[in-house]
Amino acid sequence: MSEFKTANVEVRMPSRMGFEKVAMSTASSVAKLMGFRDERIEDLKTAVAEACINAIEHGNRLNEKLSVGVVLSASADSLEVKVIDDGKGLKNPPGKVIKPDIDRKMHGEEDPRGMGMFLMQALVDEAEWVAGSEGKSSYVRLVIRLDKDAE
């Protein structure tokens, strides 16, 4: 594929479960145009879905009057996805998310839920949680990089 020129794509969607699939398919389309392998696109789709679900459920607290913004910024060698909500963001954004402990979950010592942030961080090259100023416009920033040898 010829050198990909920079491009920005923005999507706004309601804070309603299920609409994360709009962001998934948009991210998938952009990543495909950039030449990412199918395996990496599947990783990106899951990470974007989890970011949107957190924005809908925790950031905007399922308030359909609030929207979730998804901003995709494609460059020659990477794709950055910001998922923005109107929540306060995390008080203590994690550097490294702890891997879910399946043994503790199976023994009822840990909530079966709570895997979204781990999946985001594990499936993309960078995942960063940024609390917005004045208690809103917090975002998650995900980055996947093109591996020019493998893609």
Binding site: M17, A49, P100, I102, M106, D111, F118, L119
Partner: protein, 119 residues
């Protein structure tokens, strides 16, 4: 927006002669799938359904809330002395299930035939 989760049960016998309850899912597996996933599982007779096989062949989308429902089912199954296996996951979701540790408690197989042959 989310495609409704459908589920139905088929009772099979493995080549080794074991009764196997196959839970066949269709659609998305997400937070809205509680009745389809847990409800269908909970309707199985605990005395006879000792091997539960999950069919994900017709599932395109599973998110972390859906994975949590599968883990809840696995917890109930473990407490009831049942064994859980699965087949039909895409390569991506096989990787995701492995990453979160589900494979430590539920064997994954590519196809129904391979799953039944191993049971």
């Amino acid at each position: 927006m989310q495609s409704e989760t459908k589920a139905h049960v088929e009772n099979l016998t493995s080549p080794a002669g074991h009764a196997v309850s196959v839970l066949r899912f269709e659609g998305d597996i997400a937070s809205t799938s509680k009745d389809a996933v847990l409800g269908t599982y909970q309707a199985l007779p605990k005395e006879t359904a000792k091997i539960v096989l999950l069919d994900f062949t017709k599932v395109d989308y599973i998110n972390s809330s859906g994975i949590a429902l599968v883990i809840q089912m696995m917890i109930e199954a473990a407490n009831s002395g049942q064994k859980v296996f699965a087949f039909g996951l895409s390569a991506h979701f096989t990787k995701v299930f492995t990453m979160v540790g589900i494979t430590r408690y539920a064997g994954l197989f590519p196809t129904q035939g391979e799953a039944l042959a191993a049971l």
